[in-house]
């Protein structure tokens, strides 16, 4: 518990996490508001209200990576290991604090987006959260943010540099996963198993008819069920995080 307090003090006594959280909320809710206000002609579906969650996810992952890399940048990781030489417990405490915070930001952004859509959409008759699938589309964002933050913490601890860690995360999520589909023959099959593609199936996959715009096709690709997709994404995040713990333990600080 004391180490959780330590990591909480560290995180909230600098400004960048606050900026990242505000940006994550502002981007997702703000863009959703614009979409909702301009949704004419048909009832706004639930998926329309959470479509922008990926913007927030990237920002939250940057926040999580920064939580580790700034410690390396400014040498405070050495003070941390000096104070707690087993190294693993402060890293786990950091993960608990950052992951919980990310989940809360995820929930705030998705329910904020959904609530604002409810207020702004001309026709909100389809926006009500009536089924388990509807709830997954909205509340699931909290889980995806949490797992994404864990993944970013692992990458940050392995790479140790802000620029490196942030570029790896953003280039992978925004470029590699799209470009890989252009590989002839096998590209599509590889893309189906890329972590962020799979994670979006958890949010967007298997919607009820009322949750998607009229006449739209299946909104997400992938072989796994929505919950299987989340398990896959979370497993990748956990694996990278555990590898980072092993490396941090063995490496000279």
């Amino acid at each position: 518990m004391t180490l959780l307090a330590v990591e909480r003090i560290k995180l909230f006594s600098t400004r960048s996490p606050w900026w990242c959280m505000l940006l994550a909320l502002g981007l997702t809710i703000g863009i959703t508001a614009i979409i909702a206000a301009n949704w004419d002609g048909s009832p706004m579906p639930v998926l329309g209200a959470v479509f922008t969650h990926t913007f927030g996810l990237y920002v939250i992952m940057v926040m999580a990576a920064l939580a580790v890399t700034t410690e390396y940048r400014f040498g405070t990781i050495k003070s941390t290991f000096q104070a707690v030489p087993d190294r693993i417990s402060p890293m786990i405490a950091k993960a608990v604090v950052v992951v919980l915070l990310s989940a809360l930001v995820g929930l705030a952004s998705s329910f904020g987006s959904w609530g604002l859509s409810w207020l702004l959409a001309e026709d909100n008759s389809d926006l009500a959260l009536t089924t388990a699938n509807d709830w997954r589309h909205v509340a699931g964002v909290g889980l995806v943010f949490a797992a994404g933050a864990l993944l970013a913490l692992g990458v940050g601890a392995l790479v140790r540099q802000t620029a490196g860690a942030v570029s790896i995360i953003l280039v992978f999520a925004l470029v590699v996963e799209s470009v890989i589909a252009f590989i002839p023959n096998i590209g599509d099959d590889i893309q189906k198993w890329m972590p962020f593609t799979v994670a979006s199936k958890f949010i967007f996959g298997d919607p009820d008819a009322s949750a998607i715009p009229e006449g739209a096709g299946p909104p997400a690709i992938g072989e796994l069920s929505p919950w299987g997709s989340f398990g896959y994404f979370a497993a990748i995040a956990l694996a990278i995080y555990i590898i980072s713990l092993v490396v941090v333990k063995r490496r000279d600080a």
Partner: protein, 302 residues
């Protein structure tokens, strides 16, 4: 008490620390002296468990640092005063450190007061001058009231006032019975701060001794003699001391290896008049450079 035995660290093919054994005793300031790149910081990182030794071991109060439960209560160490998040306030920095070892919040205020930073406790540490950063770092080392303290080059870049403050601070800590281990590449600084010296070069131990003994050994006795019967005196000294003709035009002798009293008695018992008999103290830095010349990693071209 710090004890290193056969401590060795390799980085790839570079040997940073080579079979180093030494100890630092409680109640004394022990200087850790060596030219830049001699392996002082690497050794300190190994003491703190930040780097793992390739071979050998080092203990603090008989324990491996990594096995300490609340290390800040046993060892306070300042390796780099810039290891602070620049946007975090001085107080918040000490707060998380204190909390990590279950030290009460009021201890933060106490150490801030001890180093005279109470007024600026809420300001961001990134805006601190070097002297203030150094004080903040020292406040961090004092949090757990530890019995062992380590400082890596604490006076580097400080103004004379800051240097004096740190020197007195270390003496006070040692007088309270603590082990104070402080590194430097300046012998002249260590001569005024440390009672014991551990001298290393290229990762190897050159000597471990008291500072007074080190200076005595390093600066050979030299005596300047002038006399109207210089030739006679030279004959008498022959075989007992090394003699060099002084470059000065007054025809003085510079005698190595015997003390001034010996020359005075020799002259008196042989009825020789002396016009000058003066012991010369060698320069500390010269002596230190002589000792570590072989082990400096990079020489300036001569």
């Amino acid at each position: 008490m710090i004890e290193a035995t056969g401590l060795t660290k390799h980085y790839g093919r570079t040997v940073a620390v080579d079979d180093l054994s030494f100890s630092a005793q409680p109640g004394r300031v022990t200087g850790f002296l060596g030219p830049n790149g001699a392996g002082k910081s690497t050794t300190m990182r190994m003491i703190l468990g930040l780097d793992a030794p390739t071979r050998g071991k080092v203990t603090v109060n008989g324990q491996d640092y990594r096995s300490l439960k609340q290390p800040l209560r046993v060892v306070g160490a300042l390796l780099d005063a810039k290891w602070v998040h620049p946007n975090r306030s001085a107080r918040a920095h000490l707060q998380w450190l204190a909390r990590s070892n279950r030290l009460p919040d009021r201890r933060v205020d106490e150490v801030l007061d001890m180093v005279g930073l109470t007024q600026v406790a809420k300001r961001r540490a990134g805006g601190f001058s070097l002297g203030m950063s150094q004080r903040l770092g020292i406040a961090g080392t004092l949090l757990g009231d530890p019995k062992v303290l380590l400082f890596d080059e604490p006076v580097n870049g400080l103004d004379p006032e800051g240097i004096l403050w740190i020197r007195q601070f270390m003496h006070r800590l040692a007088d309270e019975g603590r082990t104070v281990f402080v590194s430097s590449h300046l012998l002249s600084e260590m001569a005024q701060t440390a009672q014991d010296l551990v001298v290393i070069g290229r990762g190897k131990l050159i000597s471990q001794t008291s500072t007074a003994q080190f200076i005595k050994d390093a600066t050979e006795d030299t005596v300047r003699v002038r006399s109207p019967q210089l030739d006679r005196l030279r004959e008498l000294l022959d075989g007992r001391a090394r003699i060099a003709e002084a470059a000065a035009s007054d025809g003085a002798l510079v005698v190595h290896g015997v003390e001034a009293s010996f020359i005075g008695e020799l002259a008196a018992s042989n009825g020789i008049t002396l016009h000058e008999l003066s012991p010369q103290l060698g320069s500390l830095e010269e002596a230190f450079m002589q000792l570590t010349k072989e082990s400096v990693e990079y020489h300036a071209a001569e």
